[in-house]
């Protein structure tokens, strides 16, 4: 299951303070995403929901054309004098032949309008929408000299309920290398911050969902791109080595960071010593790569895997670093020790 490009693009575009997003679509299309954003932000205990302006195409507009609706929505958006107006479209204007790009280009606020031609499912999947938005927004930033010790994170999943927990895990690891995140592209970063994307010395992708954008951005700014957040325990070590190297950190410093991380992992795993010797059964793999993370944890704790073992649920998402692995293990521990 996944949403269309509109959901993907909005999940990026709605997290830019100072910008407004205009959706050229029927109300229902925008409601879907707004409702999801609302749910996710309540999960994250953040009560502020982004504003989504909708042109509100109706049954009459699909016959007579909806460009007037878009024009009017842009007028209303411009009244707020935002730093940027991001325009995304559903499949309906694409089908009825609205020339949305021309409407945006001809508008009085055109210099601060970014048109992202998402076209609902006609433009692909939510993943395509996310990548289109990231690539489109990267156009705001000019190439610049990299500032040592800085990194940018690209393509965080804003609709992921653990988004901040995953970010915290990544920054914990980066701290071991004395690296600082200067741009979260695009999560709660204003337009001025996004324009500084080119100053980061290395780009870290959330995962391969944003690989298209990662490729484009790496090429445009001539930066090394780390392809994903760390997967599980050994992924954290690999992440330290790859990111440290990409950022020009010395071998000694990287080794020290790895040593510190290994000690941290041993300390965290000690909390699961009661599971040593227990046998578990993983069942079906919900997502490629999960079993590798799960099996590594099984081995590190001293458990075994067997069809007769206690059935434990592998997570349906890739556990990020130690923190993500711990969340998986807490659920397993409850199942194994308490039924």
């Amino acid at each position: 299951m996944a949403g269309c490009t509109l959901t993907g693009a909005l999940s990026v575009a709605c997290f830019i303070p100072g910008a407004v997003t205009v959706v050229h679509a029927p109300h229902g299309c925008a409601h879907q995403t707004f409702s999801m954003l609302h749910a996710m932000m309540n999960d994250a205990e953040t009560k502020i929901t982004p504003e989504i302006m909708v042109s509100g195409l109706s049954d009459k507009d699909v016959i007579f054309g909806g460009e007037g609706c878009l024009r009017q929505a842009l007028d209303r958006a411009a009244e707020k004098k935002p730093d940027l107006i991001i325009v995304v479209t559903s499949c309906v204007p694409e089908t009825i032949g609205d020339d949305c790009r021309a409407v945006c280009q001809e508008h009085a606020y055109a210099k601060q309008i970014l048109y992202i031609p998402t076209s609902g499912f006609l433009g692909g999947s939510a993943k395509d929408g996310e990548n289109s938005a990231l690539i489109g927004l990267a156009g705001l930033a000019e190439p610049a000299e990299p500032i040592p010790g800085t990194v940018a994170i690209i393509g965080e999943k804003n609709l992921e309920s653990e988004v901040e927990e995953n970010y915290a895990e990544v920054t914990r690891l980066l701290h071991l290398l004395d690296l600082t995140v200067t741009v979260r592209f695009c999560r709660n970063a204003d337009v001025a911050t996004l324009k500084k994307l080119g100053t980061a010395s290395c780009f870290i992708l959330r995962d391969d969902r944003s690989s298209d954008a990662g490729r484009e951005l790496g090429k445009k700014f001539n930066r090394r791109v780390i392809r994903e957040f760390p997967r599980g325990l050994s992924g954290a070590i690999t992440f330290l080595r790859e990111t440290g190297t990409a950022c020009g950190i010395s071998r000694e410093k990287i080794d020290a960071a790895v040593s510190s991380e290994n000690a941290w992992q041993e300390k965290k795993l000690a909390g699961f010593s009661k599971l040593r010797g227990k046998s578990v059964f993983l069942g079906a793999e919900p997502l490629e790569g999960i079993f590798a993370v799960a099996r590594e944890a099984i081995e590190r704790i001293g458990m075994t895997e067997s069809p007769d073992g206690v059935e434990v649920k592998p997570p349906f998402y890739l556990p990020v670093g130690v923190s993500g692995t711990m969340k998986m293990l807490y659920l397993w521990r409850r199942r194994i020790l308490h039924g």
């Binding site: 299951m1 996944a2 949403g3 269309c4 490009t5 509109l6 959901t7 029927p26 109300h27 229902g28 299309c29 925008a30 409601h31 879907q32 707004f34 409702s35 999801m36 609302h38 749910a39 309540n42 999960d43 009560k47 502020i48 929901t49 504003e51 989504i52 302006m53 909708v54 042109s55 509100g56 195409l57 109706s58 049954d59 507009d61 699909v62 007037g68 609706c69 009017q72 929505a73 209303r76 559903s90 499949c91 309906v92 089908t95 009825i96 609902g120 499912f121 006609l122 433009g123 692909g124 999947s125 939510a126």
Partner: protein
């Protein structure tokens, strides 16, 4: 054109509304003829199995009938009846989708999102189901049950309990029943647990919402002279006393709360009446979600809604967490989706006698929680 512009629309589209009705009849396989995005939302919202054609761009260019036939053929292996729910793009391309199944292999429901909001979709779904009444079936239908409603399970249980106490059989539950039972025909008479979701089937004897219940019981007594209404009427009187007892207790300590209500018309009017009757509240904002609201204005633009709420500075918001988050200074009780303020798994009613009591209980707890929070502030 101006009224179509909207900031953060708070109510789903016609397709979602139609889906909520079709999916309520177990045994009927619902195929959403559209993209994964159109499927994803009702699937996650309604939490029931649905099928989809998962249309791709190429199928729009070359026609979607073959893809639809492919999915219908696959789903028909279940030997269950099928409803095809159309979405925006196939509705725009002008293909004869209904004509593609001339042998009645599937019910075609043309409810694209741009056709309107939930209620327009509900109407289209019921019309497409071509439901007939059956005078041989004795009893009443329960109307107004929707999988989109926060209270649908509780409402259904409460209505069945009350009708059982009266000795009146339930014939068809709109829309939470088996498709097989639906096809046996509906009863000639209907009561509603939420009049904003109307099937239009059977003669309507009234609503089971607490303020309307006594009048509806009178109508039922005329239609079913052998039914025993006294136990329910006694229960209503006791509940009324109980609700006054607890609201009086609150009012001995606090001023009547100023209230803003935003929900479907039926629940909004219910909430307004209850707050006026038991608390003597001033209710300056009463807004409907449904465009066919007859007595109160419909507003689905969140910015406009929150502007009206902020202007009246309410002590209590009865609505969704859209409103609650936008105006966090007030106490809140969720009466329309979404309600992200609490984990809510049990079958809570808002209709019937228990629904009235439960509502007062929720209001009092929300007001007291807010008072406590204000008192704890430094």
């Amino acid at each position: 054109m101006d009224d179509k512009f909207c900031i953060n629309p708070v109510w789903p589209c016609a397709m979602t509304g139609a889906c909520s009705i079709l999916a309520g009849f177990s045994g009927l396989c619902v195929i959403i003829h559209g993209s994964s995005g159109c499927y994803y939302y009702p699937r996650s919202l309604l939490k029931v199995p649905l099928f989809s054609t998962y249309l791709l761009e190429s199928e729009i260019v070359f026609g979607t009938v073959n893809r639809l036939k492919e999915v219908v053929t696959e789903v028909s292996k279940t030997n269950k009846p099928i409803a095809i729910l159309n979405t925006c793009i196939p509705a725009l391309t002008g293909e004869d989708l209904a004509g593609a199944f001339p042998d009645g292999a599937a019910i075609f429901v043309d409810a694209p999102g741009f056709a309107g909001n939930v209620e327009e979709g509900v109407k289209i779904a019921y019309e497409s189901l071509a439901i007939e009444t059956n005078e041989m079936r004795d009893g009443v239908n329960i109307d107004g049950v929707s999988l989109l409603d926060l209270f649908w399970r509780g409402n259904l249980h409460e209505a069945e309990r009350l009708l059982s106490t009266m000795g009146i059989p339930v014939v068809v539950r709109f829309a939470k029943d088996t498709y097989e039972n639906l096809r046996k025909g509906a009863a000639l008479h209907t009561i509603s647990v939420n009049p904003s979701y109307t099937s239009g089937i059977g003669s309507m004897l009234g609503s089971f919402l607490f303020p309307d219940l006594k009048e509806t019981i009178e109508n039922l007594a005329i239609t079913f002279p052998d039914a025993d209404m006294d136990p329910v009427l006694d229960e209503w009187e006791r509940a009324d006393e109980l609700m006054f007892y607890y609201s009086d207790k609150y009012l001995r300590k606090y001023e009547p709360p100023i209230v803003a209500v935003c929900s479907q018309e039926s629940y909004a009017i219910f909430a307004q009446k209850i707050m006026e009757r038991y608390f003597g509240s001033d209710v300056p904002v009463v807004l409907a979600r449904n465009r066919n609201a007859k007595t109160i204005p419909c507003v689905t633009n969140l910015q406009e809604i929150t502007g009206k709420i902020a202007a009246c500075k309410p002590d209590l918001i009865l609505g969704s967490t859209f409103e609650a988050n936008a105006y966090p200074n007030a106490a809140f009780l969720g009466i329309t989706p979404p309600d992200r303020s609490r984990v809510s798994i049990s079958a809570r009613p808002i209709t019937g006698i228990e629904g009235g009591i439960s509502f007062i209980e929720g209001v009092l707890n929300s007001l007291m929680d807010m008072t406590g929070r204000r008192e704890r502030r430094p």
